[in-house]
């Protein structure tokens, strides 16, 4: 891939582009927080961060390792309780965008962070929902940053911890969930978004030096491509400097690796 920045850096920079100015963003630590902070420092100064441990609108310091790390609480507008943020902001409908992670993301954007295998035959226990189910139930948009590996993109999650579009069109409405909803997945190979009609994830953009077929080869379900698939734009302006010097100077999350897709 283009020298000078890593896949991981471009993933964070691309994710930041999906954060809109004025969004109230429910976010944990790691790459999602880097992406949110980058957006705040560039095109989205009016972004409001909400962190699950009860933190509202902090001025995050580099580089928190936990949602209970004082670095995510620095100069917050309020430090409160889980009820404050999960109940009175998230379920109340005041959060626009939520970052979630998971071991599996399926065709309809459902997310599994509970177990690999089936309750009867569990192969690996995962941490569980945390606030992810709450975010997927109440946010208007979900943003996921993950490595693109076939095992991570099955046709159907072994366990649906957090609801995407469930079984497809009308699934959320039938379940009693808000229908205004969208999922964006930023991987090291592509940007996936749900098709507005079928609700299935499809390729919206490609990372540099990869192809639709290469992405499909790493995806466990049939993957359409949007009509106008473009390549993810390279880092612009200050993006890389902000990431490396201001947001993650000690490289707690941004590794130096320069893996190129073909090499994987």
């Amino acid at each position: 891939m283009a020298a000078g920045y890593s896949h991981q850096e471009l993933m964070v920079i691309e994710a930041a582009r999906h954060v809109r100015d004025g969004d109230v963003v429910f976010v944990g630590t790691g790459l999602p927080l880097l992406a949110t902070a980058l957006a705040q420092r560039t095109h989205a100064p009016r972004v409001v961060c909400v962190i699950e441990s009860g933190v509202i609108a902090p001025h995050v310091r580099p580089t928190p390792m936990s949602v209970s790390d004082p670095k995510v609480m620095y100069r917050a507008a309020r430090l409160g309780s889980l009820r404050d943020v999960l109940g009175c902001l998230l379920q109340r409908g005041l959060v626009d965008l939520g970052f979630v992670g998971g071991a599996q993301i399926d065709r309809y954007g459902n997310i599994n962070s509970t177990m690999i295998g089936s309750p009867g035959a569990m192969r690996r226990r995962l941490p569980g929902s945390g606030g992810a189910n709450d975010m997927a139930s109440h946010c208007r948009r979900l943003l996921i940053i993950t490595r693109h590996e076939r095992r991570r993109f099955p046709e159907r999650c072994d366990y649906v911890t957090s609801p995407g579009f469930l079984d497809g069109p009308g699934g959320r409405r039938r379940a009693g969930l808000p229908s205004e909803f969208g999922v964006t997945v930023v991987t090291d190979l592509a940007v996936l978004e749900n098709d507005p009609v079928t609700c299935a994830l499809r390729i919206a953009k490609l990372m540099p030096a990869t192809t639709v077929d290469a992405v499909r080869a790493e995806t466990g379900f049939p993957l359409d491509a949007a009509a106008d698939v473009r390549e993810v734009a390279p880092p612009a302006g200050d993006d890389l400097r902000l990431l490396r010097e201001d947001l993650d100077p000690a490289r707690r999350y941004l590794k130096e690796e320069q893996v190129s897709p073909s090499a994987r």
Partner: protein, 311 residues
């Protein structure tokens, strides 16, 4: 429902050993304070491990270090929680191993659903509604009919709109570590409060360890800052650095090395975990002995300074 009335208004200061032996019974439903690497009640859970009080059900939102050590010590039968993990420090390995090998039961909720269960408990109602869980596998198929961990009903004001009800949760005893308390049990939590306010008020008994014991008069100078009034609290344990190696907001940061040391042992397996607990818990007569042996003044000072820079 039993209330902490018996200890109202009294001087509730006692040692961790006395508080745990008086209020934590084998088979108890144990409410766990703290979140991830913040304000875990380590001094109190070390004491539970030291007294080997078992058959516990541990309940909370995010369960992390304190829970995992109880599981590693073989004292936990069941967890009811929203997650078990330490984020960047990895998962809670004893918890994961126990679930995978079938020796530990777990009932999964979302964090909001757990907060909602504690909210029902503190408000004295049998259940509370939430719009989380809908459509997910956190709701078993049975939940649409038979009330178990939850039940789905129609919104009476809008038939056809499903709403999830979750049952009130009343821990037999909750363990929390707070910044300040007075002798009567008035508690002040600074910074993020997690699920503790609701959990504490829902509990039959509460043991609170604190960084500082303050005069009752100091609390009563600013009563709007009292997080929890004494009526809910059964015991106050004065234990500086009582959350070590996790952080206490405005007092000290977490100790990444010590957390990692435990995680390495827990990841390695039951034997390594036992060795860790032998050295750091059973091998220490008190939590202060653990602090002196495993942290030491200079390290604790450094954690204080690291926190001061962030607050």
């Amino acid at each position: 429902m039993e209330s902490p009335a018996t200890t109202r208004n009294a001087d509730k200061v006692m040692s961790a050993a006395e508080a745990v032996s008086r209020f934590v019974r084998p088979g108890a439903v144990l409410g766990m304070g703290g979140q991830n690497v913040g304000r875990c009640p380590m001094a109190l859970t070390h004491e539970v491990i030291r007294q080997r009080i078992g058959d516990l059900t541990v309940v909370g939102c995010n369960l992390s270090l304190s829970m995992d050590q109880l599981v590693g010590a073989g004292l936990v039968r069941r967890c009811v929680c929203g997650s078990g993990n330490l984020e960047r420090f990895g998962t809670t390995f004893c918890w994961r191993r126990g679930i995978e090998d079938g020796t530990l039961e777990v009932e999964d909720y979302s964090h909001l659903a757990m907060v909602t269960r504690f909210l029902a408990g503190e408000m004295g109602v049998p259940f509370m509604p939430t719009r989380s869980l809908l459509g997910s596998d956190l709701l078993g198929p049975s939940e649409r009919t038979r009330p178990g961990k939850a039940v789905v009903i129609d919104n009476p004001w809008n038939p056809g709109e499903p709403v999830v009800l979750v049952p009130a949760l009343h821990p037999d005893v909750s363990l929390v570590h707070v910044q300040r308390a007075d002798r009567t049990g008035n508690l002040i939590i600074e910074g993020f409060a997690t699920h503790e306010p609701e959990m504490i008020r829902a509990s039959r008994h509460v043991i609170a360890s604190c960084e500082e014991l303050v005069p009752e008069e100091a609390i009563r100078q600013h009563p709007e800052h009292t997080t929890i009034p004494f009526l809910y609290v059964s015991a106050v344990v004065v234990q500086p650095f009582g959350a070590y190696p996790t952080s206490t907001y405005r007092y000290y940061d977490y100790d990444a090395d010590q957390v990692t040391a435990y995680q390495d042992a827990a990841r390695a397996g039951a034997e390594a975990t036992s060795r860790y607990l032998e050295e750091h818990v059973w091998g220490c007569a008190t939590f202060d002995a653990h602090l002196a042996g495993d942290a030491g003044r200079p390290r604790l000072e450094a954690l204080r300074l690291a926190m001061r820079a962030m607050t």
